[in-house]
Subunit: 391 residues, 2 copies
């Protein structure tokens, strides 16, 4: 196991009706003038925004609003939010929505108190300070409610890039599984896929002797495998939603990723897809991950076999462990298909002719050195080969 | 899953040589005058205390010292520490040691800024505020490095009681697995048992639909089952020590115990044993837990069978799940014996004639209502029956 630090000081409030306590937590964490940031009209129509405003009113906390966050959130709205926060002397940013809204709120919170262009943070500068952030989560997926990360797409050039830093950890996050019950099955499945991807990205490592984090990741994956089909079959299943919601947070707050090399090449490769085709992040990952696995499993057949046996319940082929490794990848494909996820470029609306451009940007775009990934170091050529496996 | 809040804002610094950064973290978390609290001479002889003092000197942080913490830490030393902290205007308490030292440091940190008797906190009053606490952990066991809990024995009457509250969460904890390599096998095994007990106490629940926390607990138990014998056979195995150390923290910071009824009757019953016979807490738990399981498994045979199959790898007896449940309990007995733990009263030095007194104190002592436990509600008579199973 490698040396590490781990610091996750977010206050989680989990369960039914907890959004009605939002005002109390904003106050506890020092907010007196809030930006409420959200996406489309569904949080208005559902009454959620009204309940949150009522709880702020109750604590005599004033607020301004900025809606309009879209999936794959854009830089334009971030600039607008920063300007609004400065003009209105906002001291607390409250995100009401899923990962896109939270990520946009994080960018605004960091940018408001930063003299330069907020995009600096999405070009490699760590975020040490930001306005305090609170979240009321409505989609279990990104894990942004408990992570120090944010992903924004710059409209100029459609660059989808990440920022990171302790300043971006939410002060509090309210997780009410009931708020996710209205999500359509497709979006629910995208969230499930994103959560599983966060686990795979930590699981595939070159670090030896990481049994404790292996076992935690495997446990969270088995939770997703058990709960995913239940919630797709019965969207109102609060209990399945609750298990998925806590798993989604645990999958990405890094308590099960510490002390080990991780591999985020799949996320990088997916970001090219969603930036170019505006597909859902989870849908993109459903196409990318099995291809990434097929391309790379020979680098550590026994790790892939371990995943297949422990998580998917495959039988170990002791004479030929490669068969077991491949069986596990096939189980993942079957699972993703069963919850309604796409399996190839065509189903995603992606085009073969864009592969060279995407491979180049993935390899070099984010200030990259021409190679990405921790478990498997991938060159532009490797990346293009993996994209071709998705055709 | 039940509603819950979860807040674990301890900064963890994990890995080789990290104790040399102690001064930096004391400074970061606001300490300028430190009480260094420790147990016996081993931290002096090993040079650990010297390295920590050097790192405080480097940051120009002054300190006073108080050694002498014993296993099952006593109230007398706590009063002494409180007096010393007040006299010397200490603003930060640094524990160097295992759970006993940390728990004693927590009591001092809470008591120093409290006007009344610190024992109030060990009689049910929640600890909201305390001096900031840092820890340099030398034994993987109690999980106190990441928990809001502390256990102290009051010398008058030998009452062993717990306190709890957000004020008791350490500001930072330094976990260097190499510092645990000098532990004798018996103490190492006691630590392993304590960690596993913390997991069982969360696992046995009446709350339905808790797959995510079930799976995490199971993963941590499997880690302990794998790493325990390795470290007993080879005390210098850094990697096994590292996996156990992180599992020990995760087992007790409650991220895998949220949203579910827990059962701490076994810990209560063990506290009577270690208060009366001054045995190691882990050794007491090794005797208590299998007996508690045998007495209670019929309340939820399928939960015990699930543990047996998923964690111990037992075959499911579908015709008679009770056989599987019992096979799992036997696996635990075999495991504890294999790492050198005692299995009954005689091996522990406990006496049959004390059973009525212990059962009475466990049931009524801690301001109790006469019944303890969340999974199985145990009366004084039940507790006595369970003690008798340990003969």
């Amino acid at each position: 196991m490698n040396n590490f630090t781990f610091y996750a000081p977010t206050y989680f409030v989990f369960g039914k009706d907890q959004e009605n306590e939002t005002g109390k937590y904003v106050k506890r964490f020092g907010g007196s003038k809030v930006l409420i940031h959200y996406g489309g009209g569904s949080v208005v129509r559902s009454g959620l925004l009204g309940r949150i405003k009522a709880s702020l009113d109750q604590e005599k906390i004033s607020y301004v609003e900025l809606g309009g966050v879209k999936p794959n959130p854009r830089s334009g709205l971030v600039y607008e939010g920063i300007e609004l926060c400065r003009k209105e002397n906002v001291d607390f940013v409250l995100a009401v929505g899923g990962g896109s809204t939270i990520d946009s709120a994080k960018a605004i919170a960091a940018g408001t108190i930063y003299e330069g262009d907020f995009w600096d943070f999405y070009s490699g500068k760590p975020v040490e300070k930001a306005l305090p952030i609170g979240t009321v989560l409505t989609i279990a997926a990104a894990g942004s409610e408990g992570s120090p990360d944010s992903v924004i797409t710059k409209e100029e050039g459609m660059l989808k890039r990440g920022a990171s830093g302790e300043g971006l950890r939410p002060a509090f996050s309210i997780l009410n599984p009931a708020l996710t019950q209205t999500l359509p099955p497709y979006q629910t499945a995208c969230g499930i896929t994103d959560i599983m991807a966060h686990l795979f990205e930590r699981y595939f490592t070159t670090t030896k002797e990481v049994e404790v984090t292996d076992r935690m990741i495997e446990g969270l994956l088995m939770t997703m495998i058990h709960e995913g089909p239940r919630v797709i079959a019965d969207p109102d299943n609060y209990e399945a939603r609750a298990n998925i919601m806590w798993a989604g947070m645990m999958a990405h707050n890094n308590s099960c990723g510490v002390g080990r090399v991780q591999d985020w090449a799949s996320h990088d490769m997916e970001h090219e897809l969603s930036a170019l085709y505006d597909c859902a992040h989870g849908a993109g990952l459903a196409v990318v991950f099995p291809a990434w696995m097929i391309y790379n499993y020979k680098r550590d057949v026994m790790r892939f076999a371990q995943l297949a046996v422990r998580v998917w319940g495959c039988s170990m082929d002791f004479a030929n462990p490669e068969n077991t490794a491949l069986a596990g990848i096939q189980c993942l494909r079957n699972y993703l298909k069963s919850i309604g996820m796409p399996g190839n470029f065509a189903e995603l609306g992606a085009k073969e002719e864009d592969i060279p451009q995407m491979a180049h940007t993935a390899a070099f775009g984010n200030g990259g050195s021409g190679a990405i990934g921790g478990f498997a170091r991938l060159t532009e050529e490797d990346i293009a080969n993996i994209y071709r496996l998705m055709l």
